[in-house]
Point group: C2
């Protein structure tokens, strides 16, 4: 008998889906899911099921799963818990190889027996079951979107190389929404809720073999099988970085986890040690889950010599402090670089690192300076700080930096802090593949994680 | 003879200003300053000085300071360093009691003698001199705006109770711009550059007596007179919180500081100890300079029992972890609160703390829950987490929270993470006096600083 996990491709790339609980009421989850499949441009067959409708959003709707005229590969189930168990069985009989059970009301509220029935059916029919008590999944390339939040509230990211596995739908929603806003691409997203059949380890294993995915992000409340998890993670991390946030590491957090996804939590120290052993990059906050993955879009380097380019001296000082704090080094610029910088910089600018090209710097001065820093053999990576508040600096600098980053073997990271104008420029840079941060310290911290990863895995 | 510092009111609230170096060229600093005074609606006399213009922006322009027909209180000097020294003397003779010297080219590039001449003149005439090598100052109530960055690039905040003293103009610009974007009010802003006459201690002393200012934020690269600074700060902190970021605490940061504002830096440990002794709240990052001050808009409490209200379980777990990490406590809700919550919450919601009112919570459910948490005698402060990605939660909840916060003796802090819709709601809340954060950890960290402050100062 095949294992449920062997059918995971039918969660992410099904040729046909049955939406059990599809609804014509816009406020219902089953309405949002159907609408999202249509909006995503899903190319396969969609079979909405609802006993009270014959048509929803222009689609033929079936009274029951039995009435669906053809077999289908994936079931999306968004009906009350009791009915969901029966629906899964009917879907199994229609040939479903995967199921995303949105419905809550199982082990997380004490209904372990009901959840066990779901598990039995899934195992019997080798169904890759996600959930129950989850928010759905997303695969950008296959235009599959069972996330039940409407697109006008939760933006969908573009196609990219980051996969995000989240036990909590809410956390997943926050990060997806941020990724969409900043133009950060993702490959796949899955909120796996109670992890009754498919757990975090199965998903990791699947993503290890997924060519679209280069970086994996995890939000965990508990780990089902610690040994299995660590073994699989250890195998993956040399090829693909895994960034993981373990929630419920405090005494009160552990209690909160139990009533959220019914998981068993563990101590912070135990997870820290286990993550380190498996080469997992530990995230500590919700902000980390957005800040850290995008640094891995950059070229790999294990060099620690950082050049800082700025049009504001104070931010250069903060960057120097952060570089030392994170055990990196402020690069010593070569004499050629220094001479070349002096040839065009104003006399009142110091041709040193941090390189403060002064408040009257325009995009052209940034371009020349950045090229020299990138060409310097003493420089492994460049932090570019942009104060868009100065009149001299216009938005053309974002294109210049993105162009310099293209095909460049050294990582370029940007920092820009400020209001509406700055926010727009940051989004532009992020969407062009240059990760941006709100402060020198957050940028340098992320960069230090990239370098640590490469020290371990890219000798 | 009066000390220069005794004339500081003429920096912030002059009845008349002379702008030396006013220009009709939009790209010039002297143009932006004149335009900003006009845009701010400055009610006093403005005397632009420029030998090459007879009129700028509709204002009569004078060829020299000597030609200005009346005495004036404050000089804004934005001409090259050599000429600035002479101009200051001429302004002194015209009765100037304060001067903001924007010009760079003094001790920060090694011209100590030139700076000394400036200092001599200021001391001789008791002129409260800000700078040189600074970005200007701002006083919202007196509509004084000598910040040389144009308003279309750097937003000006509304009137509020936070004063911001920044040695670096760039850092100041970032924070002002953020404050403007989020609707956080400030009382005064001053970038003090080389601190040749008026230093951080003088500014602290002035703000201690400023009724408009309730919280003081400092960005420092060096302290001129450590003993004086700590003595003044120690006197202020029991009444007004001081939040300070000391930059240049690393070896390389110290070097960077020397070529930025010519300050002498010091070790991180020494500053940490000194700040703690004086009751100064230490900021560690640029993000802190925006995140920490706004928590002090809230009512004071030294109670550590935090209630968490959320529509997403994962965020509640992260909040519980953060509360324990920052040595606060998850409040134990009273049995009355629990019963009252159970009376209207859906059966699938747990009436516990963190209180997850579930993804289908609307604004009304938030309102009832928040009122009960605020009324609970076991609760000292409430963290409200809002996932705006759910269809059920609309923007009316921001008004509900702001209303609950009005006149409430317990602090309310909000967390919301996401894209464009979320950002707009966060700005709304901040501008209504409810501080918002991007993650449970940053919110709880800020709240812990408020509580620590109150433990020390509000017994």
């Amino acid at each position: 008998m095949k294992s449920p996990a062997s059918n995971l491709q039918y969660v992410f790339s099904p040729k046909s889906v049955c939406i059990v609980g599809a609804s014509h009421e816009p406020s219902k989850i089953g309405h949002a899911i159907l609408r999202n499949f249509l909006q995503a441009g899903f190319k396969g067959q969609i079979y909405p099921v609802n006993p009270h409708s014959s048509e929803i959003l222009g689609m033929r709707c079936y009274a029951s799963v039995q009435d669906v005229p053809s077999p289908f590969e994936c079931a999306i189930i968004a009906i009350p818990a009791e009915a969901a168990v029966q629906a899964l069985l009917e879907c199994a009989k229609k040939g479903a190889k995967a199921a995303v059970v949105i419905s809550g009301g199982f082990s997380e509220v004490g209904n372990k027996k009901l959840e066990e029935k779901l598990v039995q059916t899934a195992k019997k029919y080798s169904i890759a079951l996600i959930g129950p008590n989850c928010m759905g999944s997303l695969c950008i390339s296959s235009q599959t979107d069972s996330v039940f939040l409407p697109t006008y509230k939760l933006g969908r990211p573009k196609k990219g190389e980051i996969a995000f596995i989240s036990q909590s739908g809410a956390i997943g929603g926050c990060i997806l929404d941020l990724a969409s806003r900043y133009g950060i691409g993702i490959s796949k997203f899955v909120s796996f809720g109670n992890a009754s059949v498919i757990d975090e380890s199965d998903l990791l294993q699947y993503l290890a073999g997924d060519e679209e995915t280069k970086t994996i992000v995890l939000y965990l409340e508990g780990v089902k099988d610690g040994k299995k998890f660590l073994q699989i993670a250890s195998e993956i991390t040399p090829q693909k970085p895994i960034i993981a946030l373990k929630a419920g590491v405090s005494a009160s957090g552990t209690v909160a986890v139990a009533s959220h996804t019914g998981s068993l939590a563990g101590s912070a120290a135990a997870y820290k040690a286990a993550f380190a052993q498996a080469g997992i990059i530990e995230a500590h906050t919700l902000d980390d889950l957005f800040d850290l993955p995008k640094i891995f879009m950059l070229p790999r380097t294990n060099g620690k010599r950082i050049a800082v380019l700025t049009n504001g001296g104070g931010n250069g000082v903060l960057a120097a402090d952060a570089i030392e704090y994170h055990n990196l080094q402020l690069a010593s610029l070569s004499s050629q670089t220094t001479s070349a910088l002096k040839s065009f910089l104003p006399t009142y600018a110091n041709a040193k690192n941090p390189l403060d090209i002064i408040g009257d710097a325009d995009a052209a001065r940034y371009e020349k300076s950045l090229q020299l820093l990138l060409a310097d053999k003493n420089v492994d990576a460049v932090l570019v700080i942009l104060l868009f508040q100065t009149p001299a600096l216009d938005s053309s600098v974002t294109g210049i930096i993105a162009k310099a980053a293209q095909g460049c073997a050294k990582p370029i990271v940007c920092v820009s802090t400020g209001g509406e104008y700055t926010e727009a420029q940051r989004r532009q840079l992020d969407s062009m593949g240059v990760p941006t941060y709100s402060s020198p310290s957050s940028a340098i911290r992320a960069l230090s994680k990239l370098i640590e990863y490469c020290e371990r895995n890219c000798p």
